[in-house]
């Protein structure tokens, strides 16, 4: 019954060694495991085996109270007598599997342990003097670069602005990785574990609305870690910078915008007629605008033509699909936000 002996998946067989190597350790070898159940020293071997069990500090004392019998090793040996396995190890594994398959279980804080297994744990508790259940203590977090991180974001936001919004007040980080990371990895911001998801080549993690509100409330720097919770390893991803909110831009009519900050730079500001300026992989021309704050709904406009726009962190870009039809001369570039109704003039794009 031990799956270590042979693994069959879809008609293919892999030897135990392969799984052992995949899991990063090799099977233990304890002489007591191969002692025959009917051997004179079988009870001694059971006690030796019990004395070597690991990870039992909580469950063994509880099993001890479940099985207070005086001669546990004798009873356990007698229980194994009818098993087919020639050695104690196989007989125990066989009986444990049998117990679990028929529901002959002892429940400890939800864990379903086999009755036979629990008897062995009781023996272990007695051998090692474990009387009080002790939770397993996790070691301190240590820093080690375990993930091959290619790029991540967003790396900055403006005070009060939810970064990379995903709806309902949430926002998310993304981390591109060149190799898959363990499923036990979590992104951690300022010590707070984030809800982490995995896609091929990308790890994402979202901040709950309240947490997001706290993070963007004040300018400063926040540390983002990638933590392997199984191995207690941490790797620094980088720092999220929350910048002070710059003053709002002045609109054409002299009023103060409620959504746009002043444009810092933009380009290209001129091009040759018929040529795809700032050419993109799809062959289209494109314009970029560096602006610290612009709502998600903002769109760039050339003259009165709305352009397909992408609003990023501190930069707004747009494809100019109709570049080939544009005439020589000046074309006014604006940024427009439909919900607020505001339009900010950016400058004049000149076609030569």
């Amino acid at each position: 019954m031990q799956r270590r002996t042979l693994l069959k998946i879809g008609g293919l067989s892999l030897v135990s060694l392969q799984l052992g190597l995949l899991a990063g350790c090799e099977p233990q070898s304890i002489p007591a495991l191969s002692v025959p159940v009917n051997a004179d020293n079988a009870e001694d071997a059971l006690r030796e085996l019990a004395g070597n069990l690991e990870g039992i500090d909580f469950v063994a004392p509880i099993c001890g109270s479940e099985f207070p019998q005086a001669d546990l090793s004798k009873e356990l040996r007698s229980r194994l007598a009818n098993m087919a396995g020639p050695g104690l190890g196989e007989a125990l594994s066989e009986h444990i599997a049998q117990d679990l398959s028929v529901g002959d279980q002892i429940e400890i804080s939800g864990w379903q342990l086999a009755r036979t297994e629990c008897m062995l744990l009781a023996l272990a508790a007695r051998e090692r003097g474990l009387s009080q259940p002790q939770r397993h203590e996790r070691p301190e977090l240590s820093f080690q670069d375990f993930a091959d991180i290619d790029h991540w974001g967003p790396q900055e936001t403006i005070e009060g602005d939810i970064f990379n919004p995903t709806g309902s007040g949430r926002g998310a980080f993304w981390v591109r990785v060149n190799k898959p990371v363990p499923g036990t990895v979590r992104l951690v911001l300022d010590g707070v574990e984030l809800r982490t998801h995995f896609q091929r080549g990308v790890v994402t993690a979202s901040l709950e609305p309240e947490h997001m509100e706290q993070v963007v409330a004040e300018p400063g720097i926040h540390t983002l870690l990638m933590v392997d919770t199984a191995r207690n390893l941490a790797q620094r991803v980088g720092h999220l910078t929350v910048r002070s909110r710059p003053p709002f831009a002045t609109l054409d009519d002299g009023s103060l915008s409620t959504v746009f900050c002043p444009v810092e730079r933009w380009g290209p500001d001129h091009a040759v007629q018929g040529e795809a300026f700032n050419q993109q992989p799809d062959g289209n021309a494109a314009i970029w605008v560096r602006i610290r704050c612009a709502p998600e709904s903002a769109q760039l406009m050339l003259d009165d033509v709305l352009l397909p726009t992408t609003v990023g962190s501190g930069v707004v870009t747009a494809r100019v699909r109709h570049y080939a039809e544009m005439e020589v001369g000046e074309h006014v570039l604006r940024i427009h936000d439909h919900p607020s109704g505001e339009t900010l003039t950016i400058g004049k794009f000149i076609l030569l």
């Binding site: 998946i9 899991a23 939800g110 379903q112 939770r135 998801h197 995995f198 919770t229």
Partner: protein, 470 residues
């Protein structure tokens, strides 16, 4: 062409086929039919892009178990594909043979849909329509549990980019001369005889109105809206058994426990070489519902730590913990239903009221399935299981859902048990069809989108033939 009806709307629109609703079903149906040479009118109640702060037409009330209905519906070109997670999997063979609670299930076998699933994979940009675990590489399969002899098997989910049908196929809709696509135009009324739809009336929120004439009409407004629209008609089509709006279903979640087994198992998306997720489900002939178990790596437990699995009588190798979740097949309860409230939206249509009936008893078979799996895995020496949740959620407790609205215009082999026939045509109307997940009589655990698209492609073939095509 795509025209905004708020700006321009003639008194009459005419086509061979009129489709209301431009989500995945409506868009696929329109493009498929147009490519076969048919003149198609596709109308979408929303605009080209997100309306921002929500859509008042979808305001609703709910009763029964708490259900997040408002946020789970989107009303603009592309429909709910605009927030689709991209999970893709066809329904299983047994989903078409099992009964659906006390009602009959699908009126055909999975083989009927197989050719259309391949097309659906293309529409959804999935890349492969192979869902057999054997299609995974050897290295990937070595990182799964050995389920041989346990009564369970592995199943794959694939992932669409995800395809946002509105933006992905917008240029195709705009450039196809056979398609007249109107956005911000809402179907509100059918003019019917006893057996046919003669015409329909559509309106805009700024008061424009037009008559729609077509040989065939398809309602593809979404799993909730399809039923709401039918119920808003003076003579409710397909309601001979009063099933319109009833049997509302969604895949519901349950997270029963934690597993200690080998470290390094790879079931989750992002862990495997391909863009896949692996789940465990009962064998084809196993008793109980066709639910699946999901596996996600978890922080180590401090009662039975990973070291326990390293003991030779346990796993004998490095251990790891995994959270076990379940995606569950819903039962179609007639009392789980869409009905109409007395309040009307700006188009004059009565608003939706959802009563979600997910009784405690429906969790019984789910918990039994988990217990069977737990004992089978333990019996095979594969794992130790922590059974954290043995009791079903109480009536008032929140239950996770998939935002998969299904069943409210169910398909059947007999008009007594459904609203549409096996072609998707409303039983008592010669030229009125329903597309989308509202026609599902049963749903297994697979996400609905791939099947929505497959069924839409199948309906396109059917309509093409009805219109004289070969």
């Amino acid at each position: 062409m795509i025209i905004d009806a708020l700006e321009r709307l003639p008194a009459t629109l005419e086509a061979e086929i009129a489709i209301a609703g431009a989500g995945p079903a409506g868009i696929v149906l329109a493009l498929d039919l147009a490519r076969r040479g048919h003149r198609v009118l596709l109308i979408e109640g929303g605009g080209l892009d997100s309306p921002g702060d929500g859509v008042s037409s979808y305001d609703n009330t709910t009763s029964g178990r708490s259900y997040p209905l408002t946020g789970s519906r989107l009303r603009w070109l592309g429909g709910t594909s605009n927030h689709w997670g991209g999970w893709v999997r066809p329904f299983d063979e047994r989903d078409f043979t099992d009964t659906a609670g006390d009602l009959p299930g699908w009126p055909f076998l999975v083989s009927e849909l197989q050719p259309w699933y391949q097309q659906a994979a293309d529409w959804c940009e999935v890349g492969s329509s192979d869902y057999a675990p054997e299609s995974m590489g050897l290295e990937s399969r070595a990182r799964l549990l050995d389920l041989d002899g346990t009564g369970f098997r592995h199943g794959l989910f694939r992932f669409s980019p995800p395809t946002r049908f509105g933006s992905r196929y917008r240029d195709d809709l705009a450039s196809n001369d056979n398609i007249d696509c109107r956005v911000n135009l809402n179907l509100v009324e059918l003019e019917q005889s006893d057996s046919t739809v003669r015409s329909a009336r559509a309106t805009t929120v700024n008061g424009r109105s037009c008559q729609i004439r077509a040989q065939h009409f398809v309602i593809a407004m979404g799993g909730v809206e399809n039923a709401r629209f039918l119920l808003n008609q003076n003579a409710v089509p397909g309601n001979q058994s009063e099933l319109v709006g009833r049997c509302f279903m969604d895949h519901f979640g349950f997270t029963p426990g934690l597993m200690l087994t080998d470290a390094g198992l790879q079931y989750e998306r992002g862990q495997l070489d391909e863009d896949l997720m692996v789940v465990m489900a009962p064998d084809v002939n196993a008793p109980g519902p066709n639910c699946c178990l999901t596996v996600s790596a978890a922080t180590p437990d401090d009662i039975l730590p990973p070291a326990f699995w390293g003991n030779p009588i346990s796993g004998g190798v490095e251990g790891g913990h995994y959270r076990i979740g379940m995606i569950n097949a819903p039962k179609p309860h007639p009392e789980s239903r869409i009905s109409l409230s007395n309040e009307r939206d700006s188009l004059g249509l009565r608003r939706t009221h959802l009563h979600w009936h997910l009784p405690i008893e429906d969790f019984g078979p789910v918990i039994e399935l988990f217990e069977r799996w737990m004992n089978a895995l333990g019996g095979a020496g594969q794992a130790r299981i922590k059974w954290e949740r043995k009791q079903p959620p109480a009536e008032g407790d929140h239950v996770g859902v998939g935002y998969h609205h299904m069943g409210t215009t169910r398909m059947s082999a007999d008009p007594e048990y459904g609203v549409v026939n096996a072609d998707g045509r409303i039983w008592d109307r010669e030229n009125l069809y329903i597309a989308g997940s509202s026609i599902y009589p049963a749903a297994g655990y697979a996400n609905p989108t791939l099947t929505i698209v497959a069924m839409a492609a199948r309906l396109a073939e059917h309509l093409h033939r009805r219109l004289g095509g070969s």
